[in-house]
Amino acid sequence: MSKQAQHWEKTRGLLMVTLAIWFVFSIGIFLFGAEMNEVTGPFGYPLTYWFTCQGSLGIFVILIFWFANRQEKIDEEFGFSERGDD
């Protein structure tokens, strides 16, 4: 397999993981919104309510930065990262 094909395979793997986490916190948990709201979440808010105000939103922020770092590592591994910027 060529270097480029391997790079793309890893990139696609990372995409799948990223989208899986995204799916859980944007869609998955809200399938159980009513049940989850009975539980007390962080800072004492009802759990589903907390996810909609802060939890999911904050997780998305962290997820994007994590994704960007992982992708940079993949690019470096195959020598595809750009030089002289940032």
């Binding site: 480029q4 790079h7 793309w8 990139t11 990372l14 995409l15 990223t18 989208l19 995204w22 916190f25 944007s26 869609i27 809200f30 399938l31 159980f32 919104g33 009513a34 709201n37 800072f43 004492g44 808010y45 009802p46 589903t48 309510y49 996810f51 909609t52 105000c53 802060q54 999911s56 939103l57 904050g58 998305f60 922020v61 997820l63 994007i64 930065f65 994704f67 960007a68 992708q71 940079e72 690019d75 020598g79 595809f80 990262s81 750009e82 030089r83 910027d85 940032d86």
Partner: protein
């Protein structure tokens, strides 16, 4: 004080700017103590901030295509994040969002999840690849990846439909705020708003818009957070509201139990002015079905990833790597405001509902409440209304009505904050609506000037001529938007949500598959865009005209149907026609690798 080039000095420049703005707020606060009238303070806030944006717009003037279309591709990640956040957070986010949460609770909060979750799709599926492509506009990518003028034209059409729906709402919002702050009729205020918007973008294009958007973000975030923290401290709810309002949320739940949600009769509701609503839904309980919540969130997420005015902000970063990081910063800056909106809604509701607070009005006598200054002001502005339906002389929960905008605009006054804060909030709302309108008008004008005029009609046009066309279009589109806004056809929020649905119906899959599916070809993309847009729009018209809809897809989520049709059409048509030629396949391979020159840079 400032040495070296502008980009290296950005933190210093905007640091001074922020300090200057805070000083201005303090001067206004002192002036208020010395007796300056509320009206003059409002005018000062709006005039001062708009003047600053206009100066930035003038300083950013340019005659180069690269600077005009993509700000010279040298906007650093963090600043691009701020600019995107301002570009993104519209008048709707600023003025209407807390109100929506206040009235509709959980069902509405799907928008918070949707309007942030979409950025994960932007970062992982699209932004870095489109940046590598090196295009000026979103249709530029479609036109080059799939080839041919028809694909490019269709992308221009989808972009124009979606962005134009959105921009009228923003011009409407600038008009509303300008008319309140400057005390002029709405029909004129709309054009005052438009001129302010054009001052930022006319001369400098994307470069001008970028640097004004950063300035606008700073104003709008200060204007949103300061009242939230102030009110929270003032009513003793906690010095950091985001972590400390659990008791208040629980208290609202108790009060809801105590007062009960009494349904009003039709005759009574007919007396309530149009656009005002009462509290009829629980504040923190789950009040929507899972599908209602998820479908709205999903539509907003896919719409986010297809809206061109957001995507084109990532064309301005220096590199692919920077584009990815920049999406993270954008969402961080958006998060600061979005996570505060539910807190503002909580504080606002508690201030009004809790009889043990001095500001509480539920349970007080109708005559007393009608004598309160702020009630009279906002009642006159048609944003508040009380009627003693059951004739017992006290205000019940079902007898108090408020407009959605009032939650943001009136809460500072209700909570007894000085007027200077209300002036600041008006400036913030103006900044939010202006920055989004600028991004949208520029997206449309750029697509028409670059893709329609330069690429399709006159490929030999010189740069100077192209930029003249771009500027003329900017003004024409702005005036068209303002004219429609002056007619006041739709509410602010409804048309914003439609824009997302239109964008996802026509553009989501053609964009994503253009990068992630090599087999996608021209015929497939054309079918995907055309059928997606037509079926989405058709569904909307059908439901608006009394159609029953299916699968619980409403007029707010019609993009789910449109994009599903788009996906099926695109895959089927691609597979039954021949695969893209070798040059196109090679191009896709190159897009997937960050290093090397941009695709269009090579041509």
């Amino acid at each position: 004080m400032i040495k070296g080039n502008f980009i290296d000095n950005l933190p210093k420049v905007y640091g001074i700017y922020t300090g200057g703005f805070l000083a201005f707020i303090i001067i206004m606060a002192i002036a208020e103590q010395m007796g300056m009238s509320a009206k003059v303070i409002g005018i000062c806030f709006v005039a001062f901030t708009v003047a600053i944006y206009a100066i930035i717009g003038w300083l950013s003037r340019t005659a180069q295509a690269d600077a005009y279309y993509v700000a010279g591709r040298q906007v650093p990640t963090v600043f691009n994040g701020m600019a995107t956040a301002a570009d993104w957070m519209s008048g709707a986010s600023f003025v209407a969002m807390a109100g929506g949460i206040y009235f509709k609770g959980y069902g509405y909060m799907a928008l918070l999840v949707g309007w942030t979750g979409g950025y994960v799709l932007v970062a992982s599926l699209l932004a870095p690849y489109l940046r590598k492509f090196g295009c000026y506009t979103v249709p530029d990518f479609i036109g080059t990846r799939y080839g041919g003028n028809l694909a490019r034209l269709l992308a221009v059409i989808v972009l124009t439909v979606a962005s134009f729906t959105y921009v009228t709402a923003q011009i409407n919002a600038t008009g509303t705020i300008a008319s309140v702050a400057l005390d002029i009729p709405f029909q004129y205020a709309v054009y005052v708003g438009l001129v302010s918007i054009l001052l930022c973008s006319m001369l400098g294009g994307m470069r001008g818009v970028t640097w004004t958007q950063v300035a606008q973000y700073i104003v709008l975030i200060i204007a949103y957070l300061l009242p939230v923290f102030w009110i929270s401290n003032k009513i003793g709810a906690g010095f950091f509201p985001h972590f400390m309002l659990a008791d208040e949320v629980a208290r609202i739940g108790e009060l809801e139990q105590q007062f009960g949600f009494v349904a009003n009769s039709k005759e009574n509701l007919a007396m309530v002015p149009k656009g005002l609503a009462g509290i009829t839904k629980a504040h923190s309980a789950v009040n929507a079905t899972p599908w209602a919540f998820i479908s709205l969130a999903l539509a907003m997420m896919m719409g986010t990833a297809s809206l061109p005015h957001v995507m084109m902000r990532y064309f301005t970063t220096p590199s692919v790597k920077a584009a990815r990081k920049s999406v993270g910063w954008s969402l961080f800056f958006i998060f600061l405001l979005y996570s505060s909106a539910p807190m503002l809604a909580t504080l606002s509701k508690l201030s009004l509902m809790d009889p043990s607070l001095p500001t509480g009005i539920i349970g007080k006598s109708v005559a007393d409440v009608q004598a309160i200054d702020w009630y009279q002001n906002w009642n006159q502005a048609n944003l508040m209304f009380i009627s003693d339906f059951n004739g017992n002389g006290t205000v019940e929960l079902n007898e108090f009505f408020m407009g959605g905008k009032a939650v943001v605009l009136a809460t500072p006054e209700i909570a007894g904050l000085p007027y200077v804060i209300s002036g600041l909030v008006a400036a913030g709302g103006m900044a939010a609506a202006m920055s989004t309108a600028d991004g949208l008008i520029l997206a449309i004008a750029n697509a028409l000037s670059h893709d329609l005029y330069y690429k399709i009609i006159d490929p030999k046009a010189e740069t100077a001529k192209r930029l003249v066309v771009a500027r003329v279009l900017l003004v024409v589109i702005g005036f068209a938007g303002a004219t429609i806004a002056a007619m006041e056809i739709q509410g602010i929020l409804g048309s914003v949500i439609w824009a997302f649905d239109f964008a996802m119906s026509g553009l989501f899959f053609p964009l994503v598959l253009g990068v992630w599916w090599k087999r996608a070809n021209r015929e497939g993309a054309i079918a995907g865009m055309a059928l997606g847009l037509i079926s989405g729009a058709g569904y909307l018209i059908w439901v608006r005209n009394g159609g029953s809809g299916f699968l619980g897809i409403t007029q707010l989520t019609f993009g789910i149907f449109g994009s599903a049709v788009s996906l099926v059409a695109m895959v089927v048509v691609s597979l039954i026609t021949s695969e893209p030629n070798a040059a196109t396949q090679k191009m896709v391979d190159e897009v997937r690798v960050p290093s090397g020159r941009t695709i269009l840079g090579k041509q």
